[in-house]
């Protein structure tokens, strides 16, 4: 296809520079004195994150402070990136509990499948994103750290209530 050109039909009498400059200066000055700032001053101000935000994990606990997890092994199975390491144990009453429950947040893609698949509603992805660390190994959260998290957890999408109302 040939390149087509549109010729601007502007009479040369209208092409001013100096007067147009003053117009431009007025415009920029208007923005200077009446700015429409949208930048969020991050550490001091933060956006509200959505109810379905999937961030750093959190393990919920029972009333006696133990993890709700029964070490069924569903979450390491469903995890698409293999970031959950689970070693089950059995206590004196014959209840299963997670002897080791590590999540490598560095590998995690925050898909939220672990929360979705969990029959005990124990493991959750959280509404939290400030998870920077100084060392790579600190990104592996063990059970103590997962239960110690306090941030609100993600509300999973409910097919009966698709808009979250």
């Amino acid at each position: 296809m040939a390149i087509t050109t549109r010729v601007v039909e502007r009479p040369i009498e209208e092409a001013s520079y100096v007067r147009a400059t003053f117009k431009g200066l007025a415009l920029t000055f208007k923005h200077l004195v009446d700015p429409h700032k949208v930048t969020v001053q991050y550490p001091e101000e933060k956006w509200d994150i959505g109810p379905r935000w999937r961030g750093t994990h959190r393990m919920l606990t029972t009333e006696d402070g133990k993890a709700k997890c029964v070490a069924c092994g569903l979450c390491p199975t469903v995890c698409p990136c293999n970031c959950i390491k689970l070693v089950p144990g059995v206590d004196e009453q014959g209840n299963r509990y997670p002897a080791v429950f590590d999540i490598d947040e560095f590998r995690c893609i925050f898909c939220g499948y672990c929360q979705e698949v969990c029959p005990e509603e124990a493991i959750h992805v959280g509404r939290h994103y400030e998870n920077a660390e100084y060392d790579r190994k600190d990104f592996v959260y063990d059970l103590t750290r997962l239960t110690a998290q306090t941030h609100p957890v993600c509300e999973m999408w409910d097919p009966a209530d698709p808009k979250g109302e």
């Binding site: 087509t4 050109t5 502007r10 040369i12 009498e13 001013s16 200077l32 700015p35 700032k37």
Partner: protein
Amino acid sequence: MTHTLPFLLQVVDPQLPMSDGMFALVSLIKVAVVFGIYMGCVAYTTFLERRVAAWIQDRHGPNRVGPQGIFQVLADGVKNFMKEETLPGGASKVLFILAPALAFIPAMLTWAVIPFASPLPIPGVGLVDMVVADLPVGFLFTLAIGSLGVYGITIAGWSSNNKYALLGGLRASAQMISYEIAMGMSTVCVLLLAGNVHLNTIIMQQASQGWNVALLTMAFFIFAVAALAETNRVPFDLPEAESELVAGYHAEYSSMRYSMFPIAEYANIITSSSLMIALFFGGWDIPFTQWDNLPPWTITKTLLTMGLYVGKVIFFVFTFIWLRWTLPRFRYDQLMAIGWKVLLPMALVYITAVASAVLGLDAAGLARGSYAFRGAMLGMNVVFVVLVFWVLDRGRIVSPAFSRVERERIAKLRDVSARSDLLSGKGA
């Protein structure tokens, strides 16, 4: 030194000029103090630029280092000193290292002759002129030294062994040559009225006869445009032109060597602002009163005039920044056309007109500074302003993009676009 000591000890009338020995001592102190304050102002101009730019663009700008970011300048300085100094292979080593200094030193030197307040009487010392070096050739010195700065830029571009840097350097020299002429011409009108190149004399003439900007608006306009071009600021930043030439003449520079170029640029902004003020806005004169520019000199007068002077400088520096964040860069042919086809003829016509008017009014027996003289000059000025801003400024000052295409070609293109289904709206 043997006969300076008695001079130092004896009581001097503060309203009289200083003795020679005292003059040398006071000059040394002035150099140190003014240089320090000047460097501080240059540093804070960079900060002002970043904040004003941000505000104009609805951003915040640097506001993290210290309250409202006021220590950003120090952080930048430390950062620049810490960074690695690169030396490109194939660069001319001596010139590459020398170029930043060549850009920086003239920028600093120019300020030496600019008076910034009324003379300060110090008891026991004498009357201290509030100017670093009160040269009789004053203004010519600034023109001579000011244009030396382009050597730094051109040599920086050439010695980098980089095609973009070289293009930037060449553009800088072409631009400087084109606009230096218009700048010099525009000041001739001021010299015609003042009859002297000594800056303090020009200021005193304006103090008694009204600021030159009212009588010589066109000269101020030409001077301002040329000053903008000389400082390589947008819309005349073709030597740098980051969208065309990477970073232009300083593409290969890093660390403090790079930093010298922006420092020189901001120093030039302050100097150009000061020159505009001295030549057209009455220098340190407080308008509508004669109280401030007559002896006996007092410390109050010095402080007040200096305060007003700083205010004027801040206004002009702000205007430089404001213009930068408003206008887009000129095309290279537009730049040359403005310099040679608009500003230079305009300045020549204006000189002729002002010279004839001054000669005519002198011959008619009107005293300089009388209301009739000033009225006549003002009338002529209004005619010129209307002529330039309302008659010439119709596509004749800066050529629009389409005027370079010949008329027949435009007709042909219009014909093609009329027959095109896509453009006439007939097709899909």
